[in-house]
């Protein structure tokens, strides 16, 4: 291994040390058969130290803005294995290390090894491998090495979230995930092979060096969109996502939603950054996909009643927002609108970081809810803010952040995106105005729908009166869980109140994607006055504090009385009369029934004294249940004759291999 810099503590050294520590964090536990609790503590310590090393390395890479390249000489026939750490990679590494550290701490309370020794060992091991493989694929600069890390990531995530494989639903979700992830990887094989025919090597080409009009470039583009989009969960390719996120342990869901989906985004950005000048239609396609994912993702989320499925669908929405930013930036580049490029990509990348913060926070919070109530069903929760005083405010911060409300971090990235889109609206030609106008409208709609969705989640889970005996008995989580969540909430608040510094995190990464911006000398903070946003956020908190002080002085002078909730004259209200998750969403579900296809089982009431009747409603996963599964069923019938080839006799299989080899040799000659 040859290093480019001889510094004592090189950022790259820190990152690789962090990667190795995280990757091996679960290994000692495997050998500590009788001391699972100690193994978990050891894994937590390793993961935390690894995370700190990795974060330090990533921060200093961003601060210096430099790219470091290493070449590892391996004996595989795919050319030298190059490892590169640039600000773009470092930005994604931030979320990998931060979330893996937090979920390691969280696991001590959520999945204690003392109670669940066997699965805890497996979880520690696979989460460590998952984090390390994601870090590896981010820094890989060789297609084959990238794909290896990609596969390790895909499989370790599978083993981590199917750790409770005794449950049939978990196995089903796992199978769906495996099929989808490999379909995506297949597209990546196609893409990397075509890239090799373009560049002549498996090394990644340097940024902006390939011609997007060359033959095959469009295929590369679509293969990348399919392969990486499958992992990221862009709308028609999202089918694996809700089941996988809902059925895993919550900290694994946090890792998957907060970090693993972003690997798809990373891949799309990295591959597109190789091409210059990108044609406008590439940007338009990505923008369109983003709008579709964003709007349909959040509409689907509103209809769900399972808290983790809601969070999973909202991940699709947020991936949509990120994708919209990428598409707008590419459009901006092709029409020469610097503001749009800078703020579109800057907003998208900041949203990558922000989403990993608040979505992980919310998934960890949903774990605390499940830990307390023992169900994912929102309609069985209620009144938990009183019973979980530590979790409730943290979850509230996450819910506010994901709605993009000031003064939290979600607003900052959405503000940058809006600003970029508006700059296209202000002085773009007619088609640009229409495209950006559509993006602004979609983002406004997404914002309002996300607010509806998370008011529902927070209101139904935490507020009101308990809807079930389990919720009545709800209890707060052990300290490790709120501690991990608290750190994430603090990050949300810090980015929201000091957005100009967050812009400095993102800006070098934007320059890494669009090197031409460096020469133009435009920065995010010079375009968008983020200092003002931070100022207004602080002012908002001060005004609220003053009003609260005035209010509490009044309350002190006249002590408040206590009563039951006003029932509008009705004297016997019960908790079952409260608005539920289903009824809260009912109007919106009906508005969007064309997309959601809700199914209702209505009771038949006949006669004067009808028998007891039931009502149920369900919102299916439209793309999977209505399009893909019927298609696969028909394909299965049409191609059933192929099954005769698979008759279970091993000698026959050896014959197949032999025939294939002979054919290949004939073809090669």
């Amino acid at each position: 291994m040859t290093t480019t810099a001889g510094k004592l503590v090189d950022p790259a050294f820190l990152i690789i040390a962090g990667l190795i520590l995280t990757g091996f964090s679960g290994v000692p536990g495997l050998f500590l058969k009788n001391a699972a609790a100690f193994g978990q503590k050891l894994a937590t310590a390793f993961a935390c130290v690894g995370a700190l090393c990795g974060l330090a390395g990533a921060f200093s890479t961003i601060a210096s803005g430099e790219t470091e390249i290493f070449v590892v000489n391996w004996s595989l026939p795919f050319g030298p294995c190059e490892i590169g750490i640039d600000p773009l990679a470092a930005l994604f590494l931030l979320s990998v290390f931060l979330i893996s550290g937090c979920s390691a701490v969280y696991a001590n309370g959520y999945w204690p090894a003392a109670k669940l020794p066997a699965t805890s060992r497996a979880l520690c091991f696979f989460i460590g491998i998952l984090s390390a493989s994601m870090a590896l694929l981010i820094i890989a600069r060789n297609s084959v090495f990238f794909l290896m890390a990609w596969e390790v990531m895909a499989l370790s995530a599978y083993f981590a979230f199917t750790v409770e494989s005794g449950n049939a639903e978990v196995r089903k979700a796992g199978m769906l995930y495996l099929v989808c992830t490999h379909a995506g990887t297949m597209a990546l094989f196609v893409m990397f092979i075509l890239l090799r025919t373009m560049t002549g090597s498996f090394q990644f080409a340097s940024t902006a060096s390939l011609n997007p009009l060359a033959p095959g470039a469009a295929v590369i583009f679509f293969a990348a969109l399919f392969g990486f989009g499958m992992k990221a969960g862009i709308m028609p390719l999202h089918i694996w996502l809700p089941a996988a996120h809902a059925n895993g342990p919550s900290h694994v869901s946090a890792m998957m939603s907060g970090v693993m989906l972003k690997m798809g985004i990373y891949g799309i950005i990295r591959i597109i950054s190789l091409f210059y000048p990108v044609p406008t239609w590439w940007g338009a396609v990505i923008l369109g996909l983003g709008i579709i994912s964003g709007v349909t993702g959040i509409i689907s989320a509103i209809g769900q009643n399972d808290i983790k499925r809601i969070l999973a669908y909202s991940s699709i929405e947020n991936i949509g927002i990120i994708t919209m930013g990428i598409g707008a930036a590419l459009i901006g580049q092709s029409i020469g609108n610097q503001t749009l490029v800078l703020l579109g990509m800057g907003g998208a990348l900041l949203h990558v970081l922000n989403h990993s913060l608040f979505k992980s926070l919310l998934f960890l919070g949903s774990g605390a809810l499940i830990h307390s109530v023992g169900t994912r069903e929102l309609n069985r929760m209620g009144g938990l803010a009183r019973r979980m005083p530590r979790t409730a405010p943290l979850f509230l911060i996450g819910a506010m952040a994901i709605c993009g409300l000031p003064p939290l971090n979600g607003f900052i990235s959405e503000y940058l995106l809006y600003f970029g889109f508006f700059s296209g609206v202000k002085d773009g030609a007619a088609p640009i105005l229409l495209g950006m106008g559509l993006a602004v409208t979609a983002l406004a709609l997404i914002g309002a729908l996300a607010l509806a969705c998370f008011v529902k989640v927070y209101g139904v889970a935490f507020l009101g009166a308990p809807r079930s005996a389990e919720a009545e008995q709800g209890h707060d989580a052990p300290w490790q869980m709120p501690a991990a969540m608290g750190l994430l909430a603090l990050c949300c608040l810090a980015i929201g109140l000091l957005p100009q510094y967050a812009a400095h995190l993102v800006q070098p990464a934007v320059y890494a994607v669009f090197p031409s911006l460096v020469a133009a000398g435009s920065g995010i903070t010079t375009q968008a006055p983020l200092g003002w946003i931070g100022f207004i956020g602080t002012a908002l908190i001060i005004v609220a504090a003053l009003l609260a002080a005035g209010y509490y002085r009044r309350l002190k002078s006249i002590p408040p009385a206590s009563a039951t909730t006003w029932g509008c004259g009705y004297l016997q209200p019960t908790v079952r009369m409260q608005y539920t998750s289903t009824s809260f969403a009912e109007m919106l579900v009906r508005l969007f029934r064309g997309t959601l296809q809700p199914r209702y089982a209505l009771p038949k009431i006949t006669g004067f004294l009808p028998a007891s009747a039931g009502f149920s409603s369900r919102i299916p996963e439209t793309v999977l249940d209505v399009v893909i599964l019927p298609f696969l069923r028909v394909t299965g019938i049409v191609f059933s004759f192929f099954r005769r080839l698979q008759n279970g006799e091993q000698s026959l299989y050896v014959l197949y291999i032999f025939i294939t080899l002979v054919l290949l040799m004939v073809w090669a000659h």
Binding site: V455, W532, V543, G550, A561, L588
Partner: protein, 302 residues
């Protein structure tokens, strides 16, 4: 400096007067004398001095709701230019913050409503967030049209460059915008035909039903916040509908105050001559408003 002071004073003291004018107009239509113009001020003063009752199911969210909603509205009031005068705080992209501050208020009003566990308040919260989903795109269409017309990305220049001469050159677009924004103004402020603040049937209300359980100073905050929201969104609307300019700073303030009072009278007239719409019709009207402002954006496409 004087202008900033006048802005602050008007923002703090004028909003309840609008409610008084609306009430008086409605009384005049009904042939009554009606409450005095200053009645909302008396109400607020009385509520502030009253005690509070809290439901057993509520948590701190219920108490934080009115406070944060009012704080967000107050901060939003700093961003809106009044009449021909620039706002105290103005920067590029402030219109996005403006829109999202109201969203922050909505978040806390609706969560505070859900905190009571009352089915009526849940109903109100569900309606509020649903209708907001239809009103929000309308507002952003309007903001896009205005930023295109003015070539700026900040509320103050965006709204103060509108002038009567623009009505001659881009009249059709502005007319559609006025229609769309008037509907949003009525819907966001829970006026007839969307919501009836004076009805006595909780089943049909939106905003009032969400605040049923609030009492005392908290209710004063809510009433004042609602008046302030009407004032701020009204000022936004006045810029588009009546972009009058005299060139004299003091006269401009006078024009602004008169046009705001005129707007209050108009709302009072609308409330007197219309009935509340059926709940199912409301989304249709909001979608119509959205389409109006979308068309206005298309019309300025040059």
């Amino acid at each position: 400096m004087t202008d900033i002071l006048i802005h602050m004073l008007l923002t703090i003291f004028m909003p309840p007067l609008l409610l008084g004018v609306i009430g008086k107009t409605k009384a005049a239509f009904a042939g009554r004398v009606g409450a005095p113009f200053l009645q909302p001020y008396y109400d607020l003063a009385k509520l502030i001095r009253k005690g509070s009752v809290f439901s057993d199911t509520t948590t701190w969210i219920f108490r934080a709701g009115p406070i944060i909603t009012l704080a967000a509205t107050l901060v939003a009031a700093l961003l809106i230019p009044l009449g021909n005068h620039l706002s105290p705080i103005s920067f590029a992209g402030d219109m996005i913050l403006f829109a999202y501050l109201f969203a922050l208020g909505r978040f806390f009003t609706t969560t505070a409503a859900l905190d009571t566990g009352s089915s009526f308040e849940g109903m109100g919260a569900a309606r509020e967030v649903t209708f907001a989903c239809l009103a929000e795109p309308t507002l952003f269409f309007a903001l896009m049209t205005l930023s295109r017309l003015s070539g700026s990305l900040s509320l103050s220049p965006m709204l103060t460059t509108l002038s009567l001469s623009l009505w001659f050159s881009a009249g059709a677009a502005l007319l559609l915008l006025v229609g769309g924004m008037f509907i949003v103004l009525l819907a966001e402020n829970c006026r007839i035909p969307f919501d009836d603040p004076t009805t006595h049937l909780e089943l049909t209300m939106i905003h009032e039903v969400m605040v049923l359980d609030h009492s005392g100073p908290a209710f004063a905050y809510i009433l004042y916040g609602a008046a302030l929201k009407l004032f701020v969104l009204g000022a936004f609307f006045i810029h588009i509908a009546l972009p009058l300019k005299t060139g004299n700073a003091i006269l401009d303030w006078g024009v602004f105050i008169l046009s705001m009072l005129g707007l209050a009278v108009t709302i009072g007239v609308v409330e007197s001559i219309m009935a509340r719409l059926r709940l199912l019709r409301i989304p249709q009207l909001l979608v119509a408003a959205c389409i109006l402002s979308a068309f206005s954006m298309l019309l300025i496409l040059r």
